[in-house]
């Protein structure tokens, strides 16, 4: 009976672990609604927006994602192919507004849309 219970606990934990990895594999992009995915950055092509975004990045993001966005031990690099090529600017906007709280990424809606778009301009400029 005890052994049966132990197996049940192990099975439950393994299932939860698999589910957690499923959520943790960067699959936040799958949750982005199509209208958000297709949103265009109103600051596209503006050099000032990159400079402003850099300052916002330094204030709010660099401690976790690294001074040059290379990532830290626990937080991902923003120079990865996922961020630079797979994710649209609309996807990143959705992520910054909603966060990925289960994985430690807070919501940055308090910055307001203009500063969020400026930050995205800077982040995307890192891959150019």
């Amino acid at each position: 009976m005890k052994r049966k219970r132990a197996w049940l606990v192990i099975f439950t934990m393994l299932t939860l672990a698999v589910l957690a990895f499923g959520v943790a594999d960067g699959s936040w992009m799958r949750h982005v609604p199509a209208k958000d995915h297709d949103r265009k950055n109103p600051y596209a092509g503006q050099a000032d927006a990159v400079a402003a975004g850099r300052l916002i990045y330094e204030d709010h993001c660099s401690k976790c994602h690294g001074e040059n966005a290379e990532g830290t031990k626990k937080r991902p690099s923003l120079k990865s192919a996922r961020v630079q090529q797979e994710a649209t600017e609309g996807d990143l906007h959705w992520l910054l507004v909603n966060g990925n709280m289960a994985r430690g990424m807070p919501s940055w809606s308090k910055l307001g849309d203009p500063q969020i778009w400026q930050t995205i301009r800077y982040v995307k400029s890192l891959g150019q």
Binding site: D48, A49, A51, A52, G53, L55, I56, D59, H60, K63, C64, T72, K73, V97, N98, G99, N100, M101, A102, G104, M105, P106, S107, S109, K110, L111, G112, D113, P114, Q115, Q118
Partner: protein, 284 residues
């Protein structure tokens, strides 16, 4: 006077060791949580003078830690100085805020739970029940006899829309030593003076300032719900995000009825230490 100077010195010393883009609210909580891993040290002062009473400054020193992106925990130490009376430590509080919905919605709820052990408190961090002008007329020695071990629950609702933040708090408080549930509310709205950031480093750019308005008050208790014999306050509020993580806030607040203090002045200073735990880890 010497006592006041000592109090100010302690206030400034504590603040100097101490913040970021915070809402300019003194009583109202927004739905925005502390970033995970960050520690914010805050000091808020409320100065006022009840008619026929002594001038006072109530102060709160807060240590706010982002345990998770959805969970913020905070510890407070309270004190106050009353002219022609004494300077005293008035107690402590421990609060936890939980955000049940992990995405941003039009209205974002946060559950707030606090335990407090205070007496003779004049920090005015919340107004509930029939709190009002008479509470400020007792001497500190008299007021300290009345120990308040209380549990406080809040439903915080917050929205961010086109740069505006709108926050509403519904408060229920119960003295564990007896007495009825007391109720209160706080509402506030604010907006940065500019939504877009400047392309160059600056200290006094409009986006570094946030301005708004805050209103709060008591709603009576379980046996006498309503606004009769309650105090109500309203005032403009502003803050400035100074360089290096410091935020300074100021608000003059005005009593809306005879049961309230005619006016109080609030000053806040906060400092944010980013990723505080990592600073103690090797190699980071």
């Amino acid at each position: 006077m010497r006592r006041y100077l000592w109090f100010l010195l302690v206030t400034v010393a504590a603040s100097a060791c101490c913040c970021a883009q915070e809402r300019p609210y003194f009583v109202t909580y927004s739905h925005e949580m502390e970033e995970p891993g960050n520690l914010e040290i805050e000091m808020y002062n409320a100065a006022g003078k009840p008619p026929a009473g002594n001038r006072f400054i109530g102060t709160t020193t807060e240590f706010e830690y982002g345990a998770k992106a959805w969970w913020t925990t905070e510890f407070y130490l309270d004190g106050q100085v009353t002219w022609h009376d004494s300077t005293i430590f008035t107690g402590y509080r421990w609060e936890n805020r939980f955000r049940p919905l992990l995405r941003e919605h039009r209205i974002n709820p946060v559950i707030y739970i606090e335990f407090e052990n205070t007496s003779a408190d004049k920090a005015l961090r919340e107004v509930v029940g029939h709190d009002g002008r008479p509470d400020f007329l007792d001497t500190n020695a008299e007021a300290r006899v009345d120990k308040e071990r209380e549990i406080e629950l809040k439903l915080i609702l917050g929205s961010n829309f086109r740069g505006w933040n709108l926050s509403e708090n519904f408060i229920a408080e119960k003295n564990l030593g007896g007495g009825a549930w007391e109720f209160g509310y706080a509402v506030a709205a604010s907006r940065p003076l500019s939504l877009a950031a400047s392309a160059h480093k600056c200290t006094f750019c409009p986006e570094k300032f946030q301005a708004g308005v805050e209103m709060y008050g008591g709603l009576g208790d379980w046996n006498s719900f309503g606004t009769r014999l309650t105090s109500q306050y309203l005032g403009p509020t502003i803050n400035w995000s100074a360089p290096n993580g410091m935020t300074l806030s100021f608000s003059p607040q005005f009593g809306l009825n005879d049961y309230s203090l005619p006016h109080t002045y609030r000053v806040g200073i906060s400092y944010e230490i980013e990723q505080v735990v990592n600073r103690f880890r090797r190699g980071e």
